[in-house]
């Protein structure tokens, strides 16, 4: 899984790089517009270590942001699953918050929370949580009638059990979206760093952009891609493991 994800990324990266270089030589562009292979390699050697540390820094915030957004999406998904007024209210509010582009909210978050860790975390979580929320809301508002019927008619249904049944029945869907949302968490953190932080690979990209240094950006993209591939592969592995264990060992909640 890990090897497959990594070489898939390397193929895409190499193809992208080849395309850029092809364009450079075809159009006779200078290293300022698109750096040549030698310059890219020199830049890689110069900033490799620093950017690796920056990317790890970003990844750690992305992981935390993803955890926060999973908790948030689960909580809102559980509250919003009801067909009551409150359930609808929660759903509408959750959708509305997402309707604001993060670049519009970022300055407010920045003023309230400064340019440190919390700002990055909040923005990462906000970008990552919506697809999670959509899936969790979908899963949680869809009754599994053929299982739930018995508990309802015998008066045994509790909200914890309802959530457990629906989560268990859609475990594959949930683990897939969690693995998929890692990309968004990472992208969210990078956006946050780009607009409102002083650390991480997004911040380094911003500086590289100030300096019109595409070479550095290519190195940053390489690090981001590799770390995301590893992280996603880990999540997929963990998801498959959770699924196997739950199905094999079973839980004992209220049933």
């Amino acid at each position: 899984m890990l090897a497959r994800r990594t070489y898939q990324f390397l193929i895409v990266y190499a193809a992208g790089l080849a395309l850029l270089l092809g364009l450079k030589y075809l159009a006779g562009l200078s290293d300022y517009v698109i750096p040549g292979p030698l310059l890219v390699w020199q830049t890689f050697r110069d900033v490799y270590g620093r950017y690796a540390a920056d990317t790890l820094n970003t990844l750690s915030v992305a992981v935390l942001g993803q955890i926060v957004s999973i908790c948030l999406a689960t909580a809102i998904g559980i509250l919003g699953r009801q067909t009551t007024w409150f359930g609808n209210f929660v759903k509408v509010a959750a959708y509305n918050v997402q309707a604001y582009p993060i670049v519009a909210l970022a300055p407010i978050i920045f003023i309230l929370l400064g340019d440190g860790f919390i700002t990055r975390l909040v923005i990462a979580a906000m970008i990552c949580y919506f697809p999670l929320l959509l899936v969790v809301l979908g899963v949680m508002s869809e009754p599994v009638v053929e299982i739930e019927h018995f508990y309802r008619i015998t008066g045994r249904m509790r909200w914890q059990l309802e959530v457990k049944i629906r989560a268990f029945e859609n475990l594959h869907k949930l683990t897939t979206v969690v693995a998929g949302s890692a990309t968004l968490a990472m992208a969210g953190t990078i956006v946050a760093e780009f607009i409102a932080a002083n650390a991480g690979i997004g911040y380094s990209i911003r500086i590289a952009l100030y300096q019109s240094d595409l070479g550095k950006i290519l190195v940053a993209l390489f690090h981001i891609g590799i770390s995301l591939s590893v992280y996603q592969a880990l999540l997929e592995w963990a998801g498959a493991r959770v699924q196997r264990r739950w199905e094999a060992a079973g839980g004992d909640v209220a049933s």
Partner: protein, 230 residues
């Protein structure tokens, strides 16, 4: 123990034709009764009406005080996949019915599969497990909607006989397409006919288990009455 419907009219959302137009009948319990009729005639809808899951557009459903605890089991139900069948039964069986649960598991032939996950059982085993978990609850009326589908005939007979013996004071409404079975084992067979027919439901007496294993003239008569009523 009595359930009755009086001039019920009901149309389901999105359906072109009404399910019931002037449905009236009375069934007196306790005992093992049947609800019989061709596919799509509204048997499941009637079951849902009797347990209060749907309301009629017009008319009245009357359930007397003896039938307050009503359950409805159907053959497509599933048990959660996170624990074994035995563990699930343990959890949902009230303490006072534990012995009965074990007895039913043995009688219904599902003891050997108690350690397995529900998804791994055959369709017949699934239906039997599902039925047991309803039988170990406290109930007055149990509607069994094709609860013995995919179970072989011999086992099905044993199960019905066992239920009749163990729960003589309860009210069962057994939905089945097997005319021999309902004629032989049920006390009254409520035959449901199309919405355009008058009356929409007819009650035919069954043999209530008195006919023995062979087809007697009495049995033939009951079957004929049921088929004529459809």
């Amino acid at each position: 123990m009595q359930i009755s419907c009086d001039d019920i009219a009901l149309s389901l959302a999105g359906a072109e034709r009404p399910v019931f137009t002037a449905l009236s009948f009375t069934l007196k319990g306790p005992g093992f009764h049947a609800l019989f009729g061709p596919s799509g005639v509204g048997k499941t809808t009637l079951a849902r009406l009797l347990i209060g899951h749907v309301r009629p557009d017009a008319g009245r459903v009357s359930i007397d005080d003896g039938c307050l605890r009503r359950l409805y089991a159907y053959n497509l139900e599933r048990l959660p996949g996170w624990s074994s069948v035995g563990r699930h039964l343990e959890k949902i069986t009230p303490a006072q019915h534990r012995a009965r649960c074990a007895e039913l598991a043995a009688e219904f032939g599902i003891e050997p599969v108690l350690g397995q996950r529900f998804a791994r059982l055959s369709l017949g085993q699934k239906n039997r497990v599902n039925l047991i978990r309803y039988l170990v609850q406290d109930f007055d009326l149990l509607i069994m909607d094709e609860s013995l589908a995919n179970v072989d005939e011999r086992t099905r007979e044993q199960i019905i006989v066992k239920i009749k013996a163990l729960f003589p004071d309860r009210f069962f409404l057994y939905i089945s397409h097997n005319v021999i079975e309902v004629a032989r084992f049920c006390r009254q067979v409520l035959v449901l006919r199309g919405a355009h027919r008058r009356p929409q439901a007819v009650t035919v007496p069954g043999l209530d288990g008195r006919g023995g294993a062979t087809v007697s003239p009495e049995m033939e008569k009951a079957m004929l009455a049921i088929m004529n009523a459809v």
